[in-house]
């Protein structure tokens, strides 16, 4: 057991944190809001190798561990990065897992920067895909259509969805002819969703941590009745609850990510557990921190609302936490 990141991991975290600190400031996040995507940030992420690291070496990637991806996701979330990096990373990993020449070609063109691929979290229904993350900006989305994984082109088929989290979401009409990447691939797709849940759990932990910091900073500065409001237990104690839940969500997300290589038989349970717990934790932490701001928290001018809205929206595009808990329990039972 070792709870410290390695030297390499610390460097990785520092590099990404520096990138986000420059290219994903609250001001930039706000200015990207109408579309929920910042092309400059996307370029920077490509340049630092965010996509390559997610792909095994034998497929032309840099083959980082899954835990490394989670460490990066924590910072992605902390800075509310308006870019579908997690979806793109997971799509690339799915392509690698599908094998087959069509998938391999698509992965190559992704890694070469020629194609922007995301993934639909909800399976195709009635020839359409709903709430595809990055769907307004990517070229194509991997999706599950019955038991086939298909690549759905997005130009001319999508329309943007205004949403709670100001995310780059699109509803997509599936054209008559789509490219089938693999048949009988629901297990591979389910695995991709598990990976997405785990990295999103990491992102939500980062979001929650920053949201709590903002609330705590405010509670130290803001005075009422002649004292800082943080000296009131009614204010301080809910923040302490969130601090505790965040530590739990953080350790659980890291354990889930570590289990991909360290305890593979438990990954399919830990993924939805970490996702559900992080979702609830981020919701509560961002809500508490917003509420600590009093009426100012209700104003768009204060940054805390950025966190509050995304805490809900990032997770909601897949499933609510209660469903994820149920999923984890069903898998745990099947494994016992």
């Amino acid at each position: 057991m070792d709870f410290d990141p390695t030297e390499d991991q610390s460097q990785l975290i520092a590099a990404f944190d520096a990138l986000y600190a420059k290219w994903s400031t609250p001001e930039l996040v706000r200015s990207a809001e109408p579309v929920g995507f910042d092309p400059e940030l996307w370029d920077q992420l490509a340049r630092i190798g965010a996509l390559e690291m997610a792909v095994p070496e034998e497929f032309g990637g840099a083959g980082a561990s899954f835990l490394d991806l989670e460490l990066v996701a924590e910072h992605h979330g902390r800075w509310l990065a308006p870019a579908p990096m997690i979806e793109s990373q997971i799509a690339a990993r799915l392509l690698a897992r599908l094998k087959g020449s069509t998938a391999a070609e698509m992965l190559d063109s992704m890694l070469a920067g020629n194609r922007f691929v995301t993934m639909a979290l909800q399976p195709a229904r009635d020839r359409s895909l709903k709430l595809v993350p990055g769907g307004t900006v990517a070229d194509c989305a991997l999706a599950l259509d019955e038991d086939r994984v298909v690549a759905v082109p997005l130009t001319g088929t999508r329309h943007a969805v205004e949403n709670l989290g100001s995310l780059a979401l699109a509803d997509v009409r599936i054209p008559e002819s789509t490219l089938t990447l693999a048949d009988g691939a629901s297990a591979a797709f389910e695995r991709a969703i598990d990976e997405w849940m785990t990295l999103t759990a990491g992102a939500l932990v980062g979001l929650a941590r920053r949201a709590l910091e903002i609330g705590v900073e405010y509670a130290k500065e803001r005075e009422a009745f002649g004292v800082p409001i943080g000296s009131f237990q009614a204010v301080a104690h809910p923040l302490a609850n969130s601090a505790t839940a965040i530590e739990g969500a953080f350790l659980l997300a890291r354990k889930a990510a570590w289990s991909v290589e360290g305890q593979p038989e438990r990954f399919s349970q830990l993924a939805p557990l970490s996702f559900a717990f992080a979702t609830e934790t981020a919701r509560e932490a961002s809500y508490r921190s917003l509420h600590v701001h009093g009426g100012y928290g209700f104003m768009m001018e204060y940054d805390i609302q950025l966190y509050f809205r995304r805490a809900k929206a990032w997770a909601a595009i897949l499933m609510e936490p209660r469903r994820a808990y149920a999923l984890a329990a069903a898998r745990r039972r099947a494994a016992s």
């Binding site: 943080g230 969500a249 570590w258 469903r323 745990r332």
Partner: protein
């Protein structure tokens, strides 16, 4: 970074399981439940004979030199099994206090007998009306020649009726600020003037209210300096406060799992219902978090990095989690969920009903949830002092 279980801990875990299979018999468990006294001399002797009264102490002091990760595994196993460990734990606290603050005359006798399991120490710290403000203790100890005369009352002196000595915090100077007028003593419980009144708690466990009327003890039973009792206690109780409650949740879930494999009215396993899955899934997540918070706490100890607020977080989260999940499981079990252990119609062997009552103690003793939140807010988040 990795979450691989600690090898030494896993080995010790197996040993503890085998030990419990042999020693913690169904008869003993039934006796503990029936009497409400969660202490058993035979069990304590058996524990001591394995060298497990103070497994974390260095070998030269009578321990086994177990590291914090091994101790964690050790305690988890005993908790899951519901072993009567409170007596051995309070005895270890006393031994720890004596080892740190006792005189050379006190040490060999008290420590040797404690580690042999031959003697049981209980804690006389809390007072009626005192609550979390432990330093406000009113029980007096007044010097009379080379003796001390003790008058007052202590609350929650669990096992006083089966113990040998009480580690007693008493006020020796009423004029000094409250933290600086306290002294620690070891008082034989068969001393004239001690009256022990049973207090039955919500979990069925017996604790005691103890009265001290002109109880005379020699100065040789004072531990540490006069008026230094607060420091003595803080060191001793550091052991108690870092404790998370994980075992009870694990045990509860194992009973719930068994119940969920039973059939519902439509003839399907209960575990197939979405409602049951949601509730179980949430408890599984909480139990993972309890374990991770405790592991990290122990790991920090093992690194000689003194945990700051991590211990408070583990204690707060685990006690609130069992409070929440036990209530949720009683609901899930339906009307029969309120049947008690021993009733053959009690679902999940009555474990949820018991845990629902038991849990309420965990959010209080060893520092209430409110105290833990204040520690986290002040020392973890840097918020101003809030009381």
């Amino acid at each position: 970074m990795n979450f691989d279980p600690d090898e030494g801990g896993e080995l010790l875990r197996q040993e503890v399981r085998a030990f419990l299979d042999a020693v913690l018999t169904a008869d003993l468990k039934e006796k503990l439940r029936r009497t409400g006294t969660h202490h058993d001399e035979g069990f304590q002797h058996a524990l001591a004979s394995r060298g497990w009264m103070a497994p974390g102490w260095p070998a030269e002091l009578g321990g086994q030199g177990r590291d914090p990760m091994e101790l964690l595994a050790f305690n988890e196993e005993l908790e899951v099994a519901g072993a009567p460990m409170y007596g051995p734990q309070t005895t270890l606290i006393a031994a720890n206090v004596v080892a740190r603050f006792g005189t050379e005359e006190q040490k060999p006798d008290i420590i040797e007998r404690s580690l042999r399991g031959a003697v049981t120490f209980v804690l006389g710290i809390s007072e009626p009306g005192g609550g979390s403000d432990v330093a406000a203790a009113k029980t007096r100890a007044e010097k009379d020649g080379d003796q001390w005369v003790i008058n007052g009352a202590k609350m929650f002196t669990t096992n006083a009726h089966v113990g040998d000595y009480v580690l007693l915090l008493a006020r020796t100077d009423v004029d000094k600020p409250k933290h600086r007028g306290l002294t620690m003593f070891v008082v034989p419980l068969d001393n004239p003037g001690i009256e022990i009144q049973p207090v039955v708690t919500l979990s069925g466990e017996r604790t005691n209210l103890t009265f001290y009327n002109d109880v005379r003890i020699p100065d040789s039973l004072r531990i540490g300096d006069v008026n230094d009792g607060w420091r003595v206690m803080t060191v001793g109780l550091a052991v108690e406060r870092s404790g998370a409650f994980g075992g009870e949740s694990v045990r509860l879930l194992s009973r719930i799992d068994r119940w969920a494999e039973g059939l519902d009215d439509e003839g399907r396993a209960r575990a197939e219902s979405l409602d049951v899955q949601e509730r179980i899934g949430r408890a599984v997540a909480e139990n993972e978090v309890i374990q991770l918070l405790s592991w990290r706490n122990a790991w920090l100890h093992a690194q000689d990095r003194l945990p700051g607020v991590e211990g408070s977080m583990a204690k707060l989260f685990s006690s609130e989690a069992i409070t929440r999940q036990s209530a949720d499981f009683v609901d899930m079990l339906g009307p029969d969920g309120i049947r008690r252990q021993g009733d053959t119609d009690a679902p999940a062997e009555g474990e949820a009903e018991w845990a629902f009552r038991y849990a309420l103690g965990t959010t209080t003793y060893g520092g209430t949830s409110e105290i833990q939140r204040s520690i986290i807010a002040e020392h973890g988040l840097g918020l101003p002092r809030s009381r």
